[in-house]
């Protein structure tokens, strides 16, 4: 039995389970990713085929390391939000949906942490 008024319930947890945060964070990361992606594409084109010592020197620069980690951070958050929508659109069996949403978020955190450790190990 809830003592909330219908209005406060609607403001907190409506049928959509959230407000505009999802939409806004998707756009926030999208805008952030435009310049970061331009930099990333340049970096990969220049260094993905480079000798190992050149890659290490490149990522050893604090600005390059920071740009790479910002790209990873914004990219994985954008990814988790986007994949969540795809799952919710196509998977209607509650258990499967929940499992995939958990997997998406765990994967985002795992890949993100691995990228952070790798870049920091080179740069710090």
């Amino acid at each position: 039995m809830s003592v909330q008024t219908p209005l406060s319930r609607a403001r907190g947890l409506g049928s959509a389970k959230s407000g505009v945060e999802h939409f806004w964070h998707q756009r926030l990361t999208a805008v952030a990713l435009l310049p970061l992606t331009a930099w990333f594409v340049w970096a990969v084109a220049r260094y993905a085929g480079a000798p190992h010592d050149q890659v290490v020197t490149f990522l050893g620069n604090p600005f390059n390391a920071a740009a790479m980690l910002l790209f990873v951070l914004a990219g994985l958050y954008h990814m988790a939000l986007g994949i969540q929508v795809v799952i919710e659109d196509y998977i209607h069996r509650e258990g499967t949906k929940l499992a995939l949403l958990l997997l998406t978020n765990f994967a985002a955190f795992a890949v993100g942490t691995i990228c952070f450790v790798a870049v920091l190990r080179i740069a710090v």
């Binding site: 435009l34 594409v41 084109a45 993905a48 085929g49 480079a50 990219g75 890949v111 990228c115 080179i122």
Partner: protein
């Protein structure tokens, strides 16, 4: 399909309206579906990025393994797919941001911007790979 709630009758077998395969694909339908497909593809692409960074962090031996795969033709193909997806998703994302502020909704405008994104995707992707091979040539010397 949403599961039917207990006690509800099965859906009546009425004729359905013509579905996807019978329509001529409008530009906006293709760009929308491609945006989603490339987005899902890029989600898996993050694993490639993580591998690259980890290989670089672990040392020359580990990095040699990454190189042997990325220099293989199939590795190249996957990387090319990753590039096309990233470029398309980023460029088409700009269209979505314009729509978010209420611009570019006219059918003719939306079709034109979609075709422009297709064209730019090809140009930018080719430019990236020409640049990448030029860099590799420079490293090799």
């Amino acid at each position: 399909m949403p599961e039917a709630s207990p006690g509800s009758r099965p859906p009546a077998q009425r004729p359905l309206s013509p579905h996807l395969q019978i329509y001529r694909w409008p530009v906006t339908m293709g760009t929308s579906i491609l945006h989603r497909i490339t987005g899902v593809g890029l989600a898996f692409g993050t694993l490639l990025l993580a591998w690259w960074l980890v290989a670089a962090a672990m040392g020359a031996d580990e990095y040699a393994v990454f190189e042997s795969v990325s220099f293989h033709w199939f590795g190249r193909l996957v990387l090319f797919g990753f590039t096309v997806s990233l470029v398309y998703h980023a460029l088409n994302g700009v269209r979505h941001l314009f729509w978010d502020v209420g611009r570019g909704y006219k059918v003719a405008t939306a079709n034109m911007s979609g075709l422009i994104v297709y064209g730019l995707t090809v140009v930018v992707t080719v430019a990236i790979w020409v640049g990448a091979y030029a860099s590799m040539g420079a490293w090799a010397q």
